[in-house]
Every structure is written in structure tokens, then in C-alpha cells.
Amino acid sequence: MLLFAAAALSILTTVGIVFELGKEALLFFRSAEATIGEFLTSTIWQPAILDFGIWPLVLATLTTSIIAMIVALPVGLATAVYLSEYASPRVRGVIKPILEVLAGIPTVVYGYFALTFMTPLLRSILGVGAVEIFNTASAGIVVGILIIPLVSSMSEDALHAVPMSLREASYGVGATKLDTSLRVVLPAALSGITAAFVVSISRAIGETMVVAIAAGAGPKNFTFGEDSLFGYILNPFVAGETMTGHIVRISGGDLSYDSIDYNSIFAIGLALFVITLGLNVVSRRFVARFREVYE
């Protein structure tokens, strides 16, 4: 019975998350200053003058996540294909621990890396004028590096699950190693790889410290029409604050309970929870499907 209680605590945790986030978010939307319509449509987030539109934060989150995926997908997938199809056991023995170390480094260290290495690097390549000290591009690239191990280990598991007979059949009809890896094994593992991608996106969206340190410390408010679309709104080299970054900055200060600021970060948290949970559930579906095929 005691053991069951221990297991049931996990349910309680989920209920706690949903309940607390929901309660505070509800207080937020019930208050006179914010409405759910404004929250979901406005492109200005400025609590000081009671503007609560989530889009500037979502846009920054999307920017860093997309950049992260552009870095992590090709590198992570290529690493997985190499490790699973080409590498000798010795190479695997060296590379796997390196990836594990990369995965074990705390995110705050990656934040330091983004600010003291990646940003100066971008600025020396593209010019100091073009790249702000805090910018979403640098944060995004480093988040990408951070999730390479996740992409590669999940993809490698998927590739490993492809039965040997498929590869042997491919060689049997005269295909080269390249054809076999890319045209037979990869498509066969596609659902598992997709799952890896979806989990990685969710991880990139939820990633906090790197963006809190390197992406910027104020929402990038914008108005369609007035602000240049590519020069400012979609420009990754401009500072922008993500959803997670905003929560960290607001709660890092002295926050009084029942203030609109306190409630607002819970509304953001709820949005974040729903997005990441949704992505994780989707990814689990993919994994379940791909298990059905080969087991």
C-alpha cells in the first residue's frame, strides 16, 4: 500500500502542476487587466502598462527553437547514422561517452558558453553592428548543441531497432552501404526518428538557462506594419525574451504573491506545459507505432 502511494505521488505531481498553473492562470484571466483574447492575440507584452500579449514571448521561443533544430537535427541525425551504420566498436566506444558528457553538462554552463563564446563569434563574423550582445541566434545555436545528444541517442535507438534482415536483403540486391543506410534503414526507422525530433523540439522550447542568459532580458514587442518584418520582427540577431526566459527574470526578482506579475507567469507556464506535454504525447504515439511494426 505504501508502495502504491509512492507510485501514485507521480499522479499527484501532475495534478498539482495542472491545478496550480490552472488556478493562477485563471486568476490572471479573471482579473480586470488581462483577457484571454488579449493574451492570445496581442503582440505587446509590457506588464508595467498592463499589456499582456504572449506573442512577443512565443515568437522569441519559436526563433530560438527553430534555430536550435536547424543545428541539432542534421548533426544529431548524421551522428546517429554514422554511429549505428558505419562506426567501428572502437569509435563508438569513444564517441558515446563524449555525447553522454555533452548531455550531462548543466544548462547554465551552456548559457555561459553562449554569452562568452558564441555571441562574440557571431559578432566577429557578421559585424558588431549587425548582432546585438544579447540575441536569439546565439542562444538558439547553443540550445541546438545542447540537444544534439538527445537527437542522436534517440535516433540511434530507432536505427538499431531496424532488423538486420532488411540490411542484408538490401546488400543482397546489390545496394551499397550508402544506399542501404539512407534508403532502407533510415526510412524504416522514420517513426522513431520523428519521435526523437518531436521530443527535441519540446526540449528546445522548455530550455531555460541558455535563453535567460544569452537571448535578452526584455520582450521583443512589435507591431505589424510599423516594425520591419525581416529587419526586426523575424531578425534572430536582435534581443528577444522567450517564455522561459521571462518566467526566470520575473520570478528572480522580489515577487509578491497575488500580484498580476505573479499570476501572469503562471499563465505563461501553463501555455508552456500544454505545448511541451502535447509534443511529448505525440512523440510517444510515434514510438508506439514504430514498436508495433518490428516486434
Binding site: 508502495l3 509512492a6 507510485a7 505521488l9 507521480s10 499522479i11 505531481t13 501532475t14 498539482g16 502542476i17 498553473l21 488556478k23 493562477e24 542534421p74 548533426v75 548524421a78 551522428t79 554514422y82 564517441i95 558528457v101 555533452l102 550531462g104 553538462i105 548543466p106 544548462t107 547554465v108 548559457g111 555561459y112 558558453f113 554569452l115 562568452t116 563564446f117 548543441i145 544534439i148 542522436s152 540490411r167 546488400y171 546489390g174 551499397t176 552501404k177 550508402l178 539512407l182 519540446s202 526540449r203 522548455g206 531555460t208 538557462m209 535567460a212 522561459t244 518566467i247 526566470v248 520570478s251 528572480g252 507567469i265 507556464g269 508552456l272 506545459f273 506535454l277 504525447v281 510517444r284
Partner: protein, 455 residues
């Protein structure tokens, strides 16, 4: 591991090497293999660059301006020229303090903690006596006297008062030394240029300080230890219990499958969400308990829930799914024959689990737990939300103290615009990485020993 295409050799013309079509295919294969290798090397290069960046920040030249040169101070007490400040005894150091700092400041230090057990230096004995009788006695009334190291720290901080006016990274310092020396002489004429390792014993021993030259991570290290301890005490029994239930007792029913799915999903929730949960539940709703005020305010003068115990429980919830999943795998790996043998001898289910399953699964469970603890040690975001203190200099005294932890310290120092804070952030990162590496090595050793036994 995959079989190679059959090797064709013999008298017949070798189509694999002579046909231009085959050659093209092979070349393409080689190009793609190289591209894959390149991608893999990118990942390796990222790790190497990261480590180099941290090292680059942890050592380097620093221009230091001292308000009072330490050599003169020793001489002012009548010691021979060239006596090191560090070699002075406690009496001498207190004399120095008496001569150099204001009486008011001295009184403040003495009320925090006395300099000597048998006499007072700055404070009037009657005043202190009165204060100790009052409703809010200063800490000095109950604490023993300051140690020599403590006094030495005060002398360095308040009298020598070193200010770092400029710092340079390691590679800069090594390759452009001449240029830097010229720059420093021009911009900071009074400063002394020294090659400094930002990681030092003093850095580990000193408490937090607004002055990067003397700032250290002791407060943060103690904070990290306390938080991880609470995390472990909470999540290890609960996690292992849950794993035993799910693997050994749970029937295949709807509730149990929901629990399992739920645990898997929890493992994917962003850590900052746990921070918000901790803020809402442990810090706010359970404030009476987590602030320690249910003990009659005995724990500390904090009176709010932003304490070590809140942080520990928050991280405990965070790593619980990891511990459960790992422990489940370890329990599953115990052969079923052991259970059947136990049952056949007439032991109950619980006896079997306790005497056979758990001891066999223990190395695996411990490995998973160590890795989860490593994760907790490096977590930052949830603790910022739960409310780690931004600036405290006193060591935590128990679960109800205010706290700061190593990653938070790194975060705050990194966020400061001044270069010298980046240097101490890098030094703190080195300490954190060494700690994590030790934990990981322990896990690997445990795993290897275990797998050797199982074979």
C-alpha cells in the same frame, strides 16, 4: 557490424573496381561517409570548444589595485620588511583592523562575531551585555570567537581592499602579454598586473562577496550540498518504492498503466515548470512548514518559504521520474528465476523482493540515482523560480535556511556585465564540472563492477 558487400576476387575482370559506374557509386559512398563523420566531429568540437572557453575564462592576467599594499601593512606593525601578510598571527591581524577601520565598522563586526573570547576590541562590554539581554540579541552573544582565517579575510577585504580593474582571458594573456602590459600601464598606472588562477583554495573557502577578487563559493557549495541531501532523502525511498510497486506488485489495469504513462510524461516536463509547482506549493501554500515557523521560528530569521527544504523537495519531484524509470529497469533485469526460487521456499512476496530482488537490483538503482543527483546538482531554472537568494554570505545552518547553490551563483555572475565576474563564473563552472564528473565516474565504476558480476 553490418556485413560488407561480398568481396569479388579471382580471375574474372573485377567489376567492382573497374566499372566506372561502380567507381562513381563508391566515391559517392565515401563522400557521404565523410560528411557523416564531419557532423559527428562537430559534436565533438562543440564539447572541446566549450571546455576551452571555460578554461580560457578561469585563468589569465588581472590588474589589481590595492588600497593598502599588504607588504606595507606588515611593516607598519614593526615586522621586518618583506614579511607576508599571510604569515601574521590573529593578534597582529586584529591590531591591523583596529588601526585601519572605523570603530563603527569594528563594532558591527564584533556584534556579528567576537574577535576574542576573553576580551572585546571595539565594542563596549556594557553595551554588548545590554544587547544580549534585549529581545533580539546579536549573533555574537551565542557564537564563539572568530578564527584567524576569518580575521585574515576581514583584513584583506576591508584594509587591503583589492580591486580588480581589468582582466584578460587565458589565451590573450599568453599570446599578447606585451600588449596587455602596455595597456595596463597606460590605463591603470597604480595597478599591479598578476597572472591569476581564478580557481584557488580561497575561491572555494571564501563566502560570496560583491568584490570578485575575494568572492568565493563556500556559501553556494554548502547550499548545493544541503539541497541535494534533502532531494535525495525525499526522492530515493519514494522513487524506489514506486519502482518496486510498478514492477513487482502492479496488476495490468487501467490505473497502473495511467501511472506508468504519467511517469514517462513527467520526465519530459521542462524543469522550470517544476520550479513553478515548487513556488506555488512548497514556498507559498506550505509556507508555515517550509519556512520553519511551525518550529517556533527557530530555524532562521527568514520567515518565508524560500528555503532549502522547498528547493530540495522541488528538485526531488523533478528527479523522481528519472529515479523511478532507472530503478524499474534495474528491477526488471533481475532474473525471474530468483523470484521463483524465493517463492518456492515459501517466502512471501515482500520477503522475496527484500531478500533477493532488491539486493540484486541495487547497483543498477544506485547508478541511476547518482545520475539523477548529478542532474539535480546542475539544475538552475527551477531554483531561480523557487527563490534562491540572490546574495547571502552566511552558510546555511539547516533545512530552513535561505540558500544559494552553485549553478545559481554561476548564473548571477555570468549575468553581470563586468569581465571579472565572468572569470569567477568560469572558475565556479570548473568546480561544478569537476563535481559532476566525479559523480559520473562513480556511476560508471558502479555500473562496470555490476556488469562484471552479472556475467
Amino acid at each position: 557490424m553490418t556485413p560488407l558487400p561480398p568481396d569479388v576476387s579471382g580471375e574474372a575482370p573485377d567489376l567492382f573496381t573497374t566499372s566506372p559506374y561502380m567507381r562513381r557509386r563508391r566515391r559517392r559512398g565515401a563522400v557521404v561517409k565523410f560528411a557523416l563523420l564531419l557532423a559527428l566531429m562537430t559534436a565533438v568540437a562543440a564539447l572541446v570548444t566549450l571546455i576551452i572557453t571555460v578554461i580560457n575564462g578561469s585563468f589569465g592576467l588581472a590588474a589589481v589595485e590595492n588600497a593598502k599594499p599588504p607588504s606595507e601593512l606588515a611593516a607598519s606593525l614593526g615586522h621586518p620588511e618583506g614579511t607576508e601578510l599571510e604569515s601574521l598571527g590573529k593578534e597582529d591581524l586584529v591590531t591591523l583592523l583596529e588601526a585601519e577601520i572605523s570603530t563603527n565598522l569594528g563594532r558591527r563586526f564584533e556584534r556579528e562575531r567576537r574577535f576574542f573570547d576573553d576580551r572585546l576590541v571595539f565594542e563596549d562590554p556594557y553595551v554588548l551585555n545590554d544587547l544580549c539581554m534585549s529581545g533580539e540579541p546579536p549573533p555574537a552573544c551565542s557564537l564563539s570567537a572568530r578564527s584567524r582565517e576569518d580575521v585574515y579575510g576581514l583584513v584583506v577585504e576591508r584594509v587591503v581592499d583589492p580591486t580588480i580593474v581589468g582582466t584578460w582571458s587565458f589565451f590573450d594573456s599568453v599570446f599578447n602579454r606585451g600588449e596587455i602590459e602596455a595597456d595596463a600601464a597606460l590605463e591603470h598606472p597604480g595597478a599591479e598586473l598578476i597572472f591569476r588562477s581564478w580557481i584557488s583554495w580561497d575561491f572555494i573557502r571564501n563566502p560570496q562577496s560583491p568584490e570578485p577578487a575575494v568572492a568565493g563559493i563556500r556559501t553556494a557549495l554548502f547550499g548545493s550540498m544541503w539541497v541535494v541531501l534533502i532531494t535525495l532523502v525525499f526522492s530515493f525511498p519514494v522513487g524506489v518504492g514506486a519502482a518496486i510497486y510498478l514492477e513487482e506488485y502492479a496488476r495490468e489495469n487501467r490505473l497502473n498503466s495511467i501511472i506508468q504513462t504519467n511517469i514517462n510524461n513527467l520526465a519530459g516536463v521542462p524543469s522550470i515548470i517544476y520550479g513553478m509547482l515548487g513556488l506555488a506549493i512548497f514556498v507559498r501554500t506550505l509556507e508555515v512548514i517550509t519556512s520553519g515557523s511551525f518550529l517556533g521560528g527557530g530555524g532562521g530569521a527568514t520567515a518565508n518559504g524560500r528555503t532549502i527544504i522547498s528547493a530540495g523537495f522541488t528538485l526531488g519531484l523533478l528527479i523522481l521520474p528519472l529515479i523511478i524509470i532507472n530503478a524499474q529497469e534495474a528491477i526488471r533485469a533481475v532474473p525471474g528465476s530468483l523470484r521463483q526460487a524465493g517463492m518456492a521456499l515459501g517466502s512471501t512476496k515482500w520477503q522475496t523482493v527484500r531478500a533477493h530482488v532488491l539486493p540484486n537490483a541495487l547497483p543498477g538503482i544506485l547508478t541511476g540515482t547518482i545520475l539523477a543527483v548529478a542532474r539535480a546538482l546542475g539544475e538552475t531554472a527551477p531554483l531561480v523560480v523557487v527563490g534562491a537568494s540572490t546574495f547571502i554570505t552566511t552558510d546555511p545552518t539547516g533545512p530552513f535556511s535561505k540558500f544559494t547553490v552553485l549553478p545559481i551563483q554561476i548564473f548571477q555572475w555570468t549575468s553581470r556585465p563586468q569581465d571579472e565576474f565572468r572569470n569567477i563564473a568560469a572558475a565556479a563552472i570548473v568546480v561544478l564540472l569537476v563535481l559532476l564528473l566525479t559523480l559520473n565516474a562513480a556511476a560508471v565504476i558502479l555500473r562496470n563492477r555490476y556488469s562484471r558480476r552479472a556475467v
